[in-house]
Symmetry: C2
Subunit: 340 residues, 2 copies
Amino acid sequence: MGLPKAFQRYRPALDASLKAAFEGRNLFLYDMQRYHMGWIDEKGDPIEGQGKGLRPLMCLMACEAVGGDWQKALPAAAALELVHNFSLIHDDIQDGDTERRHRPTVWHLWGMAQGINAGDSMRGLGTLALLKGSTEHHPRKIFAALEALESASLEMIEGQYLDISYEHQTSITTDEYLDMVSKKTGALMECSFHLGALLGTDNPDTVESLRLCGRELGLVFQIRDDTLGVWGMEESIGKPVASDIRRKKMCLPVVYALQTASGADRQYLHRLYEDCGPTQDGEVDEVLAILDRLGAMAHCQSLAQEHCQGALAALDGVELAPCMRTNILQLATFFAEREH
Amino acid sequence: MGLPKAFQRYRPALDASLKAAFEGRNLFLYDMQRYHMGWIDEKGDPIEGQGKGLRPLMCLMACEAVGGDWQKALPAAAALELVHNFSLIHDDIQDGDTERRHRPTVWHLWGMAQGINAGDSMRGLGTLALLKGSTEHHPRKIFAALEALESASLEMIEGQYLDISYEHQTSITTDEYLDMVSKKTGALMECSFHLGALLGTDNPDTVESLRLCGRELGLVFQIRDDTLGVWGMEESIGKPVASDIRRKKMCLPVVYALQTASGADRQYLHRLYEDCGPTQDGEVDEVLAILDRLGAMAHCQSLAQEHCQGALAALDGVELAPCMRTNILQLATFFAEREH
C-alpha cells in the first residue's frame, strides 16, 4: 500500500511554496540548501529528485480533513519541511554521515562549519515562510501556529540530544527509547497534523484530536524505520542490510533485546553494545540471531500496530471531510508496513 | 568611558527574564546552555559571571528612548541575547575555539554533536521567549518583532557564512569585508534597537531611525573589535596580543593592508595570508610593522568614528526621552573607544 492519492494533488503547490521560500536568496549558502533539497547538483545544475515531503503533505491533508482550504496551509507546510531538513543537515554532521539518499551530504561536500550554517539558515527560512506567508489567517492563529512549530522544533532537538546521549547506553528501557523517539520524530509529525488542523478549523477539540493522531503516526513511522534499519532490503531503503546493527545504532529491536534477553544472549549483547569499536560480520549475524530468538521483529510490528490503532482512535467522533478518514487510515497503514 | 548607567538599571530584570526562558527545562541539554551563559560551572554548581548583554540592554534602552515602558520589551531583549548566544555556541564549533571568556567552550566539554544541539535549542528558546512573553502587545506588533528577529538571525548566519568563506581570500575588499561584518554583527545590533523602538512607540519613522542607528552602532562595535584583536592588551581582552594576526583571521586592519599595501609589503602579506599554515612569531611582528607603515590603526579608528557619527545622525530630529540621546552617545563612544 502506497501513500494516499491526495498527496499527489498537493505536491505541485507544495513544491512551489518550498521554492518560493528561497526566492531572492542568491548566496551560495542557499545553494547548499537547494542541493540538500535535491533540486540542484553540487555544481548548481538542476536535477530531479526530492524527499517524500511527508510532514508538509500531512499538514495539508489534516487541513483538508477538518474542512479547511489546504492551500491556506501551504506556508505552514513549507515551514515544516524546512525545519525537518534543517534537522537532517545537522543530523548528518552529528552522525558523521557522508551520504544521504545516495548523494554526498552537505557537510561532506562543503565542510562542517558551512554545513552548520546551511542548517541554521534553513531553519530561519522555515520560520519566515510561516510568518510571511500566512497573512490570510487571523494573527492569533498564526501565533498559535508559530508557537506550535517552535515548541515542536525544540522538542525535536531534545530528542536528538537524547538520541546521542543514549549511544552505547545499554540500560535504556523501551519506554525511555520510545519517549526519545516520540520527541525526535513524533514532535514534528504531531506538529504537521496540528498545524494543518489549526489552520483549517476553529474547533479546538478537532485540532486536539488531529494533533494526538499525528503524534501516534510519528511513532508508527519511527518504529517502522527502526525495523527497516535492521531487516529492510538494501534495494528499497538504500542502506546496507542490518546497517543499524553494523553501526551499533540504538534502535527499538536492539533496545528491546537488551532489555529482555537473558543468559548468554544478554551477556553477549550488553558486552557488544557497551563497546564503542566497530562490529565484525559475525557479530552482526549473532545479533540478528538473538533478535530472532526474542521475536524482536514481531514485537516491533505489534507496537507499530498498537500506535496505528491509537492514531485512528484519536479521530473517533471527529467529523472529517469525505474520504479523509480513509486517507488517514491509508497513511497509517503505509507508515506501519512500508518497505522504504 | 564605560557603558551607560541606564544599563545597570535594566540588568536585574533582564537576568530574571533570561533565566525564566529556561524555567522547567530540566534536560542536561539546557545545563550546557546555562553553563555557556555563565550561570553554572561544568558540574552544575552556580557561579558568578555572565556576558555583557549588550544587545538586550540596547533593546531596553531603545524602548525607553522612544518613550516606551522598557519592561514590556524584556521578552524581546531575552530573545536577542539567546539568539546571540546560540550563534556564539555554533561559532565556537565552526572556529574550533576551545575557550571563551577564559572557560572551556561547550563543544570542547561535551563534544561537537551536543554542542550543535545546545546552540539549536537555545535559538528555539529565544523565539519562544519573544512569542510567549509579549502578550501585552498587539499581535501585529509581535508579528513585526518576530519577523525582524528572524530576518536579523538569518542575516547574521549569512554573515557567518561569508566570514568563513573569506578565510585566506586575500582579494576581499574593505567594502566586502564591512558588508560581511554589518551582517554578522550589525544585523542583530540593528535588530536590538529596532525591536526596542518597535515595542516602545507607534511612530514608524522613529522606529526606522533607531533601526538605522543600531546598524551603525553594530559596525562601530565590530570595527573596534577588529582593532582590539590586533592591538588590544592581553589583560583587558583576555586574548594574547595580536591574536587575530597569529590566527591569520581576516580582520579589518589586515583587509585594509592587503588592499592598500604595495611592493614588498604587499607581496609579503598576500603570500602569508594565502598560506593556510600557522604563523611564526617573526611573521606576526612583520605584519604588525606593515600595518604600522600603512597607518591601519588610524584608518580603523577613523572608520569607527565615521559610523559613530552615522549612528548619531540617524537620530537627528527624532524626539527622545530625557537623557536618552546622551545615553546613546555614551554607548556609541564606548563602542568606539573600549579597551575590552
